[in-house]
Each structure stands twice: as C-alpha cells, then as structure tokens.
Symmetry: C2
Subunit: 202 residues, 2 copies
C-alpha cells in the first residue's frame, strides 16, 4: 500500500490542533478553562478521554502549547511599533496599536485560556512571564532608542515599558469582549492617546 496522502504525524498534529482549537472555542463561548473537565474537552474535540492523555500530559500541557502558539502572534505584530518608535508619528502608533488590538480580538480566547491556566499551573505561569519579559525588554529598548533620537520624553525606560505592556495586556483581556465589539476602535484610540501622551507629547 502506498503511503496515504496524510501521514501519521500529519494526522497526529491535526488532531492536537483540533483539541487546541476546541479548547479555545470553549473559552471563547464563556467556559472557564479551569472548570473544564478533560472528559468535556475530549468530547468536544471528538476523541475519547483516554486518547487525550495519549497526546497531552495533562490540561496544563495543553495550556503550555497554547501559550507558545500565541506568543509568536503578539511578538510579530509588536515589531511594527518597535521599529518605528523613534519617529514621533501618531498615525503610525495608532496603526500599530490597532494591529495589537486585532491580535487580542482574534486570539483573545487563547490569551484568556493561558491566563486562567497560568493562575493554577506554575509552569504555564513561567512560560507567560518569559513572554511578557521579552515584550517589556524590547519595548524598553524602543523607548531608549526613541529618547536617543530626541523623539521621546525622558521617562524611566524600564518601568514605563513594563507598565505600558501590562496595561495593554490587561486591556486586551478585560475590555475586548466580543460582546461590545463596537468599542474596540475607541479602546485603541484611548490606548494610543495614553501612550502618545506618555512617551511623545511635549
């Protein structure tokens, strides 16, 4: 028999992807990740509970993979702002913030899942802390560059970067519920105004 079009590993990855997507969807529908039983998770994913344990060590394992999957999106979209931070261009800032907001909007459930899991599972929390640390660090560098270029006010680079990143993170979780999607632009405007006022506006 010739190797079928879908290899074993492909199907394996596809299934695990299905489980991740199902978990994300459940959280998006308002379920609490911590209150989800493996039974329910497996059922929605179309596999049996025992099969779940073949693919995942436990629920925390799932959350850790979700964390990694989500990290790239945020980091990638943040690059736009970091690279133009030394130009005091409010329009560019607004565009960059809008892009970040979009990531939270589309993958918001994944972030919520990760946050909920991090509160319970220390290894997930470590994974998340590492991500935030990287974001903060690169933002700090951007601020230092902007200050060197004379485009930014003399704020404390390290602390300001941390506060702004945590602010964006929290807003992404708490204020971008799909329910009131009308206000998303307004939220992006407000974030832009706060960052602009803090970093650039003389």
């Amino acid at each position: 028999m010739p190797p079928s079009r879908t290899t074993r590993k492909q199907r394996r990855d596809a299934m695990e992807q299905r489980v991740l997507a199902a978990a994300e969807q459940l959280v998006r529908d308002g379920e609490n990740f911590g209150e989800l039983s493996v039974e329910r998770l497996a059922g929605v994913s179309g596999i049996s509970r025992s099969t779940f344990y073949v693919h995942f060590e436990d629920k925390g394992d799932l959350a850790r993979r979700m964390t990694k999957a989500v990290v790239a999106d945020l980091e990638e979209v943040s690059t736009d702002w970091w690279s133009t931070a030394d130009q005091a261009d409010r329009g560019q800032l607004r565009t960059a913030i809008g892009a970040i907001i979009d990531v939270y909007r589309h993958r918001g459930a994944a972030f919520t899942l990760v946050s909920q899991a991090a509160a319970v599972d220390e290894s997930v929390a470590d994974e998340l802390r590492g991500l935030m640390r990287r974001l903060i660090d690169r933002t700090r560098q951007a601020i230092e560059l902007g200050q060197a270029a004379g485009a930014m006010r003399p704020v404390e680079p390290r602390e300001t970067a941390a506060v702004l990143i945590w602010m964006i993170e929290r807003v992404g979780h708490q204020m971008l519920r799909p329910s009131d999607s009308g206000g998303h632009d307004k939220v992006a405007d407000v974030l832009t105004d706060i960052i602009w006022s803090t970093l650039y506006r003389v």
Copy 2:
C-alpha cells in the same frame, strides 16, 4: 450567667476572619489557592473541615469575601484622588497613587488569591468584574467632573477610566513583588507620570 465578654456573633466573625487570614498567609507562602483543599485550609485555621462549611458556602465563597475586602480597601484609598481630581495638582495625584501602591504592597497575597480563584471559579470572576466596574465608574465620574472644571483634557471618560484602572490593577499585581521593594517608588512615579500626562498635562 451574664453574657460572656465575647458574644456569639463576635466570635463567629473572628473565626471567619481567622480563616481569611490563614488563606492569605498560605498564598503569601507560595501556595496556590486553587490547589488548596478545604481540609488543609480548615486545618491551618484551627477548625475542622465540616465546620468550614458552616461558615463558608465553599472555597469560592471565601474568595468572594476576600475580593470584597481587598477592593473595599482600594476603594477607600482611592477616594482621596476622586475627590480632588478636578484640581490639577500633581503632588496630590502622586500621594494618591502612592497610597494605592501601598495597598497592593501590603495585601498583595490577597490580590493573588483573588486572581487565582477568579481563574478557576466563575462566580469569583464575576464578583471581581463587578467590583472593578464600580471603581471604573467612579473614576469615570471623576474624569467627567475634572473635564467640566476645565482641569482635564478631553479624553473619552469611560474607556480611559477603564484602561487606567486595569493598568493600576495589573501593575499592582505584577510589578510590586516584595523582592524588589526598592523600585516601588519608581513605579509610583511612572504611574503618576502616565496618568498625569494622559489626564491633565496640556
């Protein structure tokens, strides 16, 4: 027999307070609230497991009361700022922020407990969201008053209030680890600068 010096209700409240304090202490020592069994919780508090259920509906009930307690602390210390928000006085703002930071510093474990519980227990999350909404609402009113008095910039009151409150919450929770207590003043300075730049500085 004359009523003893401590009435029933007094002792009841005292015991429940002891349980709250014990839980807070356990979290302060690095325990995860979600992984704490009622057995352990009761044991540390010096009561039996069955007695715990006489005083608390469940672990979530304990967390909800903790939530009310800590947010009440926040609300009380925030009053100073809300009442003077229409005066563009940076020193007053800095003092108010410092007071808020102090609450997070001293009751940090309680906030951690609430966060951990909210991640697992939807009712705790609801309680927290509701109480935060109150903080946001009063901040929004303060902004509207400040704008009416001509002291503040024309920001969106509702969204800006929400973003700033969530920013403070996240910073208090993530950036005020007792380990590096030296940076707390710097954090308060940065928060003050951000809020000042956003709301007041022309």
